[in-house]
């Protein structure tokens, strides 16, 4: 009897400690991308392709769950690949066939840590920022490493480009500009705090906009790396700011939405605060309206002057940036919540639920 009690206690302790260690496991919010026909969801052990027409599954990768763990946003390439990095023990960056989900290649090089950031594809080259602080540059066709540059600490934001330089944000408080020709850092800017999101590049290619945990949004001159203006926020800025016309929209983790004039950083609207922390980037639609998702599981749409157009509550907790899918004029808004009974929901542009995808 005592032996049974002891064994029970040991098993209970094991369960308890396992539960306690959840913080170190790779559980987090999913990655999401979409094109005109399909949404691509990187959610834990699987990547799913879901038809926009009816929310049914087209394919999933892999067939059976393995050591891979996906939560970086998938990236679609013009030559029919879906690139997605794994946060599992394998540290693989995988290329899938967009039509079938079959693997085309998987990391013929060794990254030493997880993939949190989505890769950037420029022409036939992939720029992939790893949690090990290294920017890996690969051939798109084969995934072979061409060169790599150790930058700093954890790189969680997807690299972006103005066509010449590659811009990488780091949790080490800096924004880096990398010259791919010279394979070196040309300038860096101290953001005063970690920047888990990416920078946004202005349409004229002259300015970068980036927010950080220093409760600031920065406008940085691309040519020189000097700060043009900064704007204060009430809390840490997690996500990539979004550009819409002459306005820059940013959010913080207290759930505030800011609208700044892109040229000068002056507040365009009064600060909005819908209903919960915001980690996803605002989605700017073709008509200039903006959609924001909150941790409370809600979606809010605002017109160009900051007036609420509609709101909806798909449910769960939404941390992933909402993504526009299908035809830009009449398409859908995709949201991927956490902690609910479905993985993905399609919302119409007027805020009505169209379908939900449960993974089956």
């Amino acid at each position: 009897m005592k032996r049974l009690t002891l064994i029970t206690l040991v098993v209970l302790a094991a369960i308890l400690l396992s539960a306690c260690s959840a913080g170190t496991s790779a559980t987090t919010w999913p990655g999401l991308a979409a094109d005109n026909k399909m949404a691509y969801l990187a959610d834990g052990t699987y990547v799913y392709a879901v038809r926009l027409s009816d929310g049914t599954k087209s394919w999933q990768y892999p067939d059976k769950a393995g050591t891979q763990l996906f939560y970086a946003n998938p990236v679609l390439t013009t030559d029919g690949q879906v690139l997605v990095g794994s946060a599992g023990r394998d540290y693989e960056l995988t290329s899938l066939d967009v039509a079938t989900g079959q693997q085309k290649w998987a990391s013929p090089f060794v990254a030493t840590d997880r993939w949190v950031a989505a890769p950037l594809v420029v022409s036939d080259t992939v720029y992939a920022a790893n949690n090990d602080g290294t920017l890996y540059v690969l051939k798109l066709a084969t995934g072979e490493k061409v060169w790599s540059l150790h930058i700093s600490q954890e790189l969680w934001g997807a690299p972006v480009t103005d066509g010449k330089l590659i811009f990488v944000t780091s949790l080490d408080h800096f924004l880096y500009a990398v010259d791919p020709q010279a394979q070196k850092i040309v300038w860096k800017v101290n953001l005063g705090g970690s920047a888990p999101g990416s920078a946004a590049v202005s349409s004229d290619g002259k300015t970068l906009y980036i927010g950080s945990f220093a409760k600031k949004v920065f406008a940085v001159d691309i040519a020189t790396g000097s700060v043009r203006w900064t704007a204060e926020t009430k809390d840490w800025v997690w996500s990539t700011p979004a550009l819409g016309g002459d306005s820059l929209f940013a959010t913080d983790i207290s759930g505030n939405i800011y609208s700044f004039g892109a040229p000068n950083g002056k507040n365009a609207w009064p600060v909005l605060q819908p209903d919960g922390p915001i980690t996803g980037s605002p989605l700017i639609l073709a008509d200039g309206s903006m959609v924001v998702a909150t941790e409370s599981g809600s979606l809010f749409a605002f017109d160009t002057s900051g007036v609420k157009m509609w709101d909806d509550a798909p449910g769960g907790k939404i941390y992933t940036s909402p993504v526009a899918a299908g035809d830009p004029a009449s398409g859908l808004i995709m949201v991927a919540p956490l902690n609910t009974d479905f993985l993905l929901a399609a919302i119409s542009k007027d805020g009505k639920l169209v379908w939900k995808f449960t993974g089956k």
Binding site: K2, R3, C20, G23, T28, P196, S212
Partner: protein, 273 residues
Amino acid sequence: MWDQFILNPFTNVLLFIYNIIGHNFGVAIILFTILIRAITWPLNAQQLKGAKVMQDLQKDKEWLDIQKKYAKDREKLASEQMRLYKERGINPFASCLPTLIQFPIIIGLYQSITRALAATPLGLLQLASSIYPSFLNGALLIPLNSRFLWMDLGRPEGIPFPAGFSLPFLPYGFPTLALIVAATTYLQTKLTLPPSGGGGPNDQSAAMNSMMSVYMPLLLGYFALNFASGLAVYFVTSNVLGIVQYASMGRVNWRNLLPGGDKTPPAKPSYKK
């Protein structure tokens, strides 16, 4: 509730220590474990005292006679045991209550380490919401410097094998820290387990002690092998402090390290006769 009263305060104290010692998370874990152990020292001492009294009672002749006499009458046995507790001034729960009080503290300590390590975006967001802005400037602390000695405290520990050599069941390399965790857990279990009664074939406490000294090192070694090495640092520190605490109270049984050393004759009783 749990976050508000246990996890968040613990996380902030851990980060406060990390901040004042110059951003070394390994040393912060060690100091934080020492601090928690010091705070719970009186509870530990009370638990040890209560356990010792119970052990001594179970070797008492009158207790053994009662067990034999009322072996088939559970009700009578219970009432006789209660009478004996009363006569000797023993509280049978004296060793359990401090353990129960300590349990949430230990779990909180463990969780605060995992929270501070924030390995994923969701983990970092949870950490952000845990930090008291008036107490700590989280923006300056994040990202934590998780390097300590040869380890990245946010990842399972392992010294890489030579190039070209790998073992599928040891994906992180040679598990030095997991072995240290298993060894210190074995030592702590062996040294702090009380000597068993007489060592007869039906001696249940001897069987339990033997199982504990096997299962606990394996269990904690398994955790150290697979989870963030920051937790393993906590295990090692906690084990060493446990041995030190028992030793300071004169409760370490060095003989237990010898083969057959855990079967000792009854000790002098620690309760009033």
